[in-house]
């Protein structure tokens, strides 16, 4: 019977397309509202766990302080993930080098030290961007290897020592004042509860949001992340765009590193350990697609908040640092799976 129908194209029986066209509602909601659903859910859990003291000013302050560094670095990392280069494994050493250079040049005064710290981060970003943008090196392997090389160079130059700003500074009043200013930037509070670090983080996020969504550069980056070949053949200077993205990332990471060094009062090659993972978690939590071309700074900010609130809740429950690793790993895997799954259901990955 069916063979006959197939042989006769003029029969009136219409062909029914059985393929599914409707999109899973859950995927759509998750994809649109994204991380802020999770943030609200986490806040509700936090309110239950902390018995109502979650919104106390001291708790909000501790959350903001804990996520400030991750937020600073994530505001740069979003450009890398967005451009389809997955992640930057050289973030730990970019942070460490930024902090160490700032401490080492503290004798020239506080503003110069900060500037040199940021410039060193930009230089690292330039090298990364040149190798990946120009020669198309494997982004993970290259940045990982470069991280190791930087660690080797830094450890040979400073012989694996830790640097203290007040010891590096000379005995003059000018240098000592600079060192004191350097220490105080991580401990300044504007008003009573809002720390300078949190404000810097939010300002950096706003700047990143502006660059990401309001400039030509952001649009170019989206095309490169979606399809490199198409971007190349439509006349975009891919090398220049990728180098810029990596420089932004290096600058953000080094600012994070300077604040880290100021917070811990020491600068050493171990300063940024673990930040590559936590920042990637925050960026992915924010709904950024690993293959590139999808994601937003607003979402990343939500991801950073969710990461901080999750850690805060785990502390409220009473888990130690070690048990946190387990929970963080499981949450990371679940979020990545949800991200991949919802994008596949929407046909976008």
């Amino acid at each position: 019977m069916s063979e006959q129908i197939n042989k006769n194209p003029n029969t009136n029986t219409p062909k029914v397309d059985t393929r599914k066209t409707e999109i899973n509602k859950f995927s759509l909601i998750f994809n649109k509202l994204g991380i802020y659903v999770v943030v609200v859910a986490l806040i509700i859990i936090g309110l239950i766990v902390s018995k109502g003291t979650f919104f106390a000013a001291s708790n909000i302050q501790s959350i903001l302080e804990a996520v400030a560094l991750i937020g600073m670095v994530s505001s740069g990392l979003i450009f890398i993930t967005y451009s389809g280069n997955m992640t930057d494994m050289s973030i730990p050493l970019t942070m460490a080098v930024g902090g160490m250079m700032a401490v080492q040049t503290i004798n020239f005064g506080f503003p110069v030290a900060i500037l040199i710290g940021i410039l060193s981060g930009a230089l690292i970003g330039l090298v990364n961007g040149f190798m990946i943008g120009k020669f198309r090196a494997n982004p993970i392997i290259w940045t990982w290897g470069f991280n190791l090389l930087l660690s080797g160079i830094v450890r040979v130059i400073w012989e694996g020592k830790q640097l203290y700003a007040d010891k590096v500074a000379k005995d003059t009043e000018f240098a000592q004042n600079a060192a004191n200013t350097f220490f105080s930037i991580a401990r300044t509070y504007i008003g009573k509860y809002i720390s300078l670090m949190a404000i810097v983080m939010i300002v950096m996020m706003v700047i990143a949001w502006f660059i990401h969504s309001k400039t030509k550069f952001g649009q170019k980056l989206k095309l490169i992340g979606t399809n490199y070949e198409v971007a190349k053949f439509s006349g975009i200077n891919c090398t220049k765009t990728l180098v810029t993205a990596y420089i932004i990332n290096g600058v953000c990471a080094s600012i994070g590193g300077i604040f880290f060094a100021a917070l811990r009062k020491t600068a050493s090659y171990e300063n940024g350990t673990g930040y590559d993972f936590s920042c990637l978690t925050a960026v992915l939590l924010g709904g950024c697609l690993l293959n590139g071309g999808k994601g937003s700074v607003v979402g990343t900010f939500g991801g950073v908040l969710a990461y901080g609130i999750l850690n805060n809740i785990l502390s409220w429950i009473g888990l130690g640092t070690y048990e946190k690793y387990l929970v963080q790993g499981l949450v990371f895997l679940f979020i990545v799976w949800l991200n991949t799954y919802s994008n596949r259901k929407l046909g976008r990955a």
């Binding site: 290897g145 660690s151 993972f277 070690y322 048990e323 690793y325």
Partner: protein, 341 residues
Amino acid sequence: MKNKKIKISANLINENRSYLFLALILIIGLFVDNFYTMYNISAATGNGSLVIWLGLGFTVCMIAGHMDLTIMYMSTFAALLCLGLHGDQGLPWAVCILIATLAGVLVGCINGFLVTKLKIHSFIATLGMQFVLKGSMYIYTGGEELSIGKDYAFSDVLNDTPVGFLPFSTYFLITTLVVFIVMIVLRYTRFGRNVYMIGGNLETAWLAGIKSDGVTTMAFVISSAACALGGALNGIYSGTAGITMGEKGISPLMIALTATIIGGTAINGGKGSVIWTWVSLVAIALLKAIFKKTEIQVLVIAAILIGCIVYETIALYNRNKTVGTRPNLHKEALKELGKSH
């Protein structure tokens, strides 16, 4: 004619760079005091054996086109499990090692499931699994270091040099044996060829009828199981196992990655050999015996790694430039023109 010769030699150097690296280290060793002594070489290779297991796992995964970051914590976890079971439950060593290896198989299965069924990128999936393992490891031990106590019998067997004239410990010989077995499996069995094929092009391999999911999972299982076995043996060999086992200033995972790339395994998979990784890891182990300072070790290893990555990247960049053109025809035409003139 002269030009041709140089080309062949450059290719030869690139293909055999792991052997050249080892030769270089051995030559440098001639100028170092007390390098060619029985004790020095057996200690260096024995201490480097843990990383050889990690490199084995990393290379198998990389040939299949994936990355396995869990290897380091897998080996530490297995060592802690092995020593813990022996100390607390009093189980014999064989059972402890078996259980530790089975834990490795389980983690490999989970990795494979995450990568093949949930379709998470292997780098990200194993990054998450790494932290799960780290957390469960801390919960198991409470952050303490475990030791084998006073039961030195098996530890002594592993530390011995069984073949009189060879300066290699039993542990290193077992490691080498397993590496050669894996090499034979990869090179001469159908499964091994399939691993190379899915690394080269996953879709083509699938269209050719290879059960790509199964093969990928198997690659992860081999990797994790090898690391677990190596880690358990390393715990017994060195007598203690802590959270940071094998980490002397530089993460063993980094050394495994370095050796895999120096050996010549392709970053995107489909090409490579376990033997190359083994040779370069032996070279790195001996290099550590030459340069005593950790800082210098890190710098030298990193410089070699960066050199290899830059060379490979630029070679690929130059090859991609000629895509669509026919350099052979162009050269032939030039030759004919030259003859006619």
